[in-house]
């Protein structure tokens, strides 16, 4: 958690969100692991549930952003970016959170917004690989659970 705390609370140092830092991982898996519940028989149950929720939610919010950019409705774009930043931060999806923060807090132009959305979509593909691998690792062969 402490890593996120530092990275997600950069307001005292403007500019930290300008670009995800080179050393920043796409996903801090220790955050996901913190949702394991060793007291239950299905220790990874919540982690898997959250991964599924995140993928669904992120897909929806990226689509909202795309539509918002098309119509240049920046409040819609920023709202969606705000939501995705929250979800991403909660699960340790750090780089996505960083780019969302830029989208939320920058003076948006069509060019910048399109660029940021493209960054987000590329990063989301990358994050997807990591999360699917993590999900499979936790569910074993039974991917349907």
């Amino acid at each position: 958690m402490s890593i996120i705390q530092v990275d997600m609370d950069p307001k005292e140092e403007p500019g930290l969100y300008d670009k995800p830092s080179a050393v920043m991982p796409s996903v801090d898996l220790s955050v996901l692991s913190s949702f394991e519940d060793p007291d239950t028989t299905d220790a990874s149950g919540l982690v898997v549930e959250l991964i599924d929720l995140y993928q669904k939610e992120a897909t929806r919010l990226l689509e909202t952003m795309r539509q918002g950019i098309e119509t240049k409705d920046w409040s819609v774009v920023k709202r969606a970016a705000h939501s995705l930043r929250g979800s991403s931060g909660n699960l340790g999806v750090l780089r996505m959170a960083c780019v969302c923060d830029r989208m939320e807090h920058s003076e948006l132009s069509h060019t910048l917004a399109t660029q940021l959305l493209q960054d987000l979509e590329e990063e989301f593909v990358h994050v997807g690989h990591i999360l699917v691998a993590e999900r499979q690792r936790r569910c074993g062969a039974n991917t349907d659970r």
Partner: protein
């Protein structure tokens, strides 16, 4: 403890709900501000609420603002949980009425201790509310007890005259004596004029003073053996034992003179005036005391009407005597 969560982001909502559940709290999850608002207005609303700032319907800050406007006696402890982490956001949130502020993604240790602090305050508040309720109930009970005690006493608290109960107790006693001795009594019914006007213009405290002053004049006017009572409000009765009907005018004139003497003094806040009715009681007609009081009341009412008419016609305040000769029969 029951905790309300309002959060539109399903992941934050789920994470929060799971975390709170682990700590043994009962969680009520809502997806937007309007749902949260409804839950906060149920009879058994949770004492602590964790609200997201940005939500569809009604945002967390708006909920804070409106909740604080309501000034309920059991205010909800509200923690704003939001990704808005700038200093001005924190200030705006707290100014809107949030009790505490946490930024997302939340640190669970921080949330746990902040919730502990919140729960402590919420419980103190709840205890205080219970205590105030108990005290209010105790005050009402005490007032009831005092009223009951008053009902058991024979004298009127404000004037020191006999009260309704005192009057009836003593009047029954006089009736017994009267029946045995065959002596007549005089029953006077007196209604204070203009008490409402005094209350309305000078206040109820002055109204009470006027009633007390009137009682004083009544006590000065009548003999020690007469039973002077305040039946309630602005109504008085006087029972004068061993008084013949032809003495009535003189007695009533004495009362009017005493009132006039008081009114002539220049330093009074108010002037006093009475409408009076009187009936002779000879104890052979087997009328009840209530019936005799009712007869005196009717006689008083005629006096009041007469006086009003006379005041209108003559524009003077000289009050005529009650026409004892035209007493109604019951």
């Amino acid at each position: 403890m029951r905790i309300l969560i309002a959060e539109d982001d399903p992941i934050s909502r789920r994470v929060l709900a799971v975390q709170l559940g682990k700590w043994g709290h009962e969680v009520i999850s809502t997806q937007n501000g309007l749902e949260a608002w409804d839950v906060l207005h149920t009879a058994d609303a949770p004492l602590v609420a964790i609200l997201d700032w940005m939500m569809p319907g009604m945002d967390g800050v708006e909920i804070c603002r409106r909740m604080r406007q309501e000034k309920t006696d059991s205010p909800t402890y509200i923690i704003l949980l939001t990704a808005k982490s700038r200093k001005e956001n924190v200030i705006e949130g707290l100014e809107a009425g949030a009790d505490d502020y946490l930024t997302k993604p939340f640190d669970r240790h921080e949330l746990r201790v902040r919730l502990q602090a919140g729960a402590r305050i919420a419980e103190l508040q709840e205890n205080l509310r219970e205590r105030v309720k108990e005290l209010e109930e105790a005050i009402i009970e005490k007032e009831h007890a005092e009223q009951e005690l008053r009902n058991l006493t024979l004298t009127d608290h404000l004037t020191g005259l006999y009260n309704h109960r005192g009057f009836f107790t003593l009047a029954e006693h006089v009736a017994k004596l009267g029946k045995r001795s065959g002596q007549q009594s005089l029953l006077i019914y007196a209604d204070m004029d203009g008490l409402k006007q005094i209350n309305d213009t000078l206040g109820h405290a002055t109204g009470s003073k006027a009633i007390a002053k009137l009682a004083e004049i009544l006590q000065q006017t009548f003999r020690d053996c007469d039973i002077v009572a305040r039946l309630g409000g602005d109504e008085f009765t006087i029972l004068c034992p061993n008084v013949r009907v032809d003495e009535a005018d003189r007695i009533i004139q004495r009362l009017r003179d005493n009132l006039q003497a008081y009114n002539n003094a220049s330093d009074n806040d108010f002037s006093l005036s009475l409408s009076l009715g009187a009936v002779p009681i000879d104890y052979t007609d087997n009328l009840t005391l209530e019936e005799q009081i009712a007869a005196a009341d009717r006689s008083m009412y005629r006096d009041k009407q007469l006086r009003k008419a006379e005041q209108i016609l003559q524009g003077n305040n000289r009050l005529p005597l009650t026409p004892i000769g035209h007493l109604p029969t019951t």
